[in-house]
Point group: C2
């Protein structure tokens, strides 16, 4: 018995009496319980005897059940301890981050964070109204920037990569002369984006400020667009317009105020975000999985 999980098996079988019931308790099937018990008893000797009404522990089995019961109370005490620890970092955090990242990159992760830390109330603020971060009410900020921002501390992750996309069907059914661009509003356009694109002669049909609205229009086949890899690559209806590698844009930063940095609650969130982002690094860099 070099697998402590076997104690859980013993406990479930002792309590429920039958393999099928024990399997349900453990979230398994009766075959798995049967096989695991078989190897366990081969290694440690008979633990249960099959009687007319279920499995009954032998002397040895009973000894191990007692161990398992104590282990269970330990485990439950550990869970309580964990909740108590989480209480110590209870409070509210306001997180400000770009709408696109919130919706397309970190949505599930942020939900997971709230489940992992029930004592933390997380408020997500996706508007860009707070351009001046010092005056912002946010505690933690995710933003793209070239330089380390003043008065804020944190870590730089990696650049956000973009390239050119279109809806596959739109691209195949639209005559080349009819292709149109969906662009940001003029002041937000990257210099040279059109000239370096695969279709520099196509006209700009519309300028949309909101990045997710632009993405929706792109997915619906309303035109060509330059967009973030992490938004477009997972969308199966979209194809890249060029085989050239995506281009890096601004670096992504995870930031907070210097006087909040040592706050455990803040540290936990920033660490969590950094970890979640790194897990998606290849997606943000636009590295296609099997290409």
């Amino acid at each position: 018995m070099d697998d402590w999980d076997n104690y859980r098996l013993i406990l479930a079988l002792a309590r429920s009496g039958t393999m099928r019931a024990a399997a349900i308790d453990l979230g398994l099937t009766h075959t798995t319980v049967s096989r695991r018990l078989a190897v366990l008893q081969d290694a440690r000797g008979r633990l249960f005897e099959k009687t007319t009404d279920g499995y009954v522990a032998t002397a040895l089995g009973y000894a191990l059940i007692e161990v398992a019961e104590k282990m269970e109370s330990l485990s439950l005490a550990g869970a309580r301890h964990q909740r108590a620890l989480d209480q110590e970092i209870a409070g509210t955090i306001t997180l400000s981050l770009p709408e696109a990242i919130a919706q397309y990159l970190l949505l599930e992760d942020l939900l997971e964070f709230t489940q992992l830390h029930p004592s933390i109330e997380l408020r997500v603020e996706t508007s860009y109204r707070f351009v001046d971060l010092d005056r912002s009410e946010a505690d933690v900020v995710i933003r793209g920037a070239q330089e380390p921002p003043d008065h804020l501390v944190g870590q730089r992750l990696f650049p956000n990569f973009v390239t050119y996309y279109a809806n596959k069907e739109y691209l195949e059914t639209t005559p080349r002369s009819e292709l149109r661009w969906i662009a940001p509003t003029p002041e937000a356009r990257t210099p040279g984006w059109l000239e370096n694109s695969p279709f520099p002669d196509a006209p700009i049909a519309i300028g949309i400020d909101d990045i997710t609205a632009r993405h929706r229009a792109l997915v619906k086949g309303m035109g060509l667009s330059r967009g973030a890899c992490f938004m477009a690559d997972p969308e199966p209806s979209l194809v890249r317009l060029t085989s050239k590698p995506p281009e890096p844009q601004q670096d992504i930063w995870v930031l907070t105020h210097p006087d909040l940095r040592q706050t455990p609650r803040i540290r936990v969130l920033m660490d969590f975000i950094a970890r979640a982002m790194r897990d998606k690094k290849s997606l943000v860099l636009g590295q296609l999985p099997a290409a």
Copy 2:
């Protein structure tokens, strides 16, 4: 964390500091430790932080390490308890069984039994001198018999099946007229065995009393022979002489004296033997694995 074995992982990592060392402690590789820790921390939050000299537990990690330490002492106490229980059934058992079964069927199992119950000294007696079991010094007896034996109690398992065999090379290279039988001594022969055999006209070259000696001669290609399936089937150099199903011989019994039957030590051994035999039932019945 619905797998208590993860506590072992935490403990090993906390003690050794690096994944590679922890992996060695656990008998695994560092990749496995790394992956398991990753999913664990995804589910329960950060438990360790990577510092310049190894992994250091966070507050949460430390709480779980304490749980794991207590679990470990529980597990060790359980192992001591098991040894103590085994002491209660300490003593000597003399087991009498046919030489063929001892050598070809239960050898590993009996060894395993002594490891499982170090407090029991098992003496194996394979001679057939004790034909009268009441006068035998054996505590437990395995024997073949048609009827439930007098003055002894226990359980009947299943019949021992036999059929006809030869060394494959011997069969292919020997002219049919040169084929010879290796038989038991005349008084031990089953009536009609020769007439019902595939080669009823082949002469009997030799009569050997000892069953294992007969088997060895058969394997060495010294002739045809009728023998137990559980001895011959696992031997790759032997082939069956007939496609007819093997014939049942005497039932196999596991027996003891009535006044010993309730002795825990005896019960443990008899239960173990019955279980081991049932695991090999298809082998004894001569049911070929992939035929």
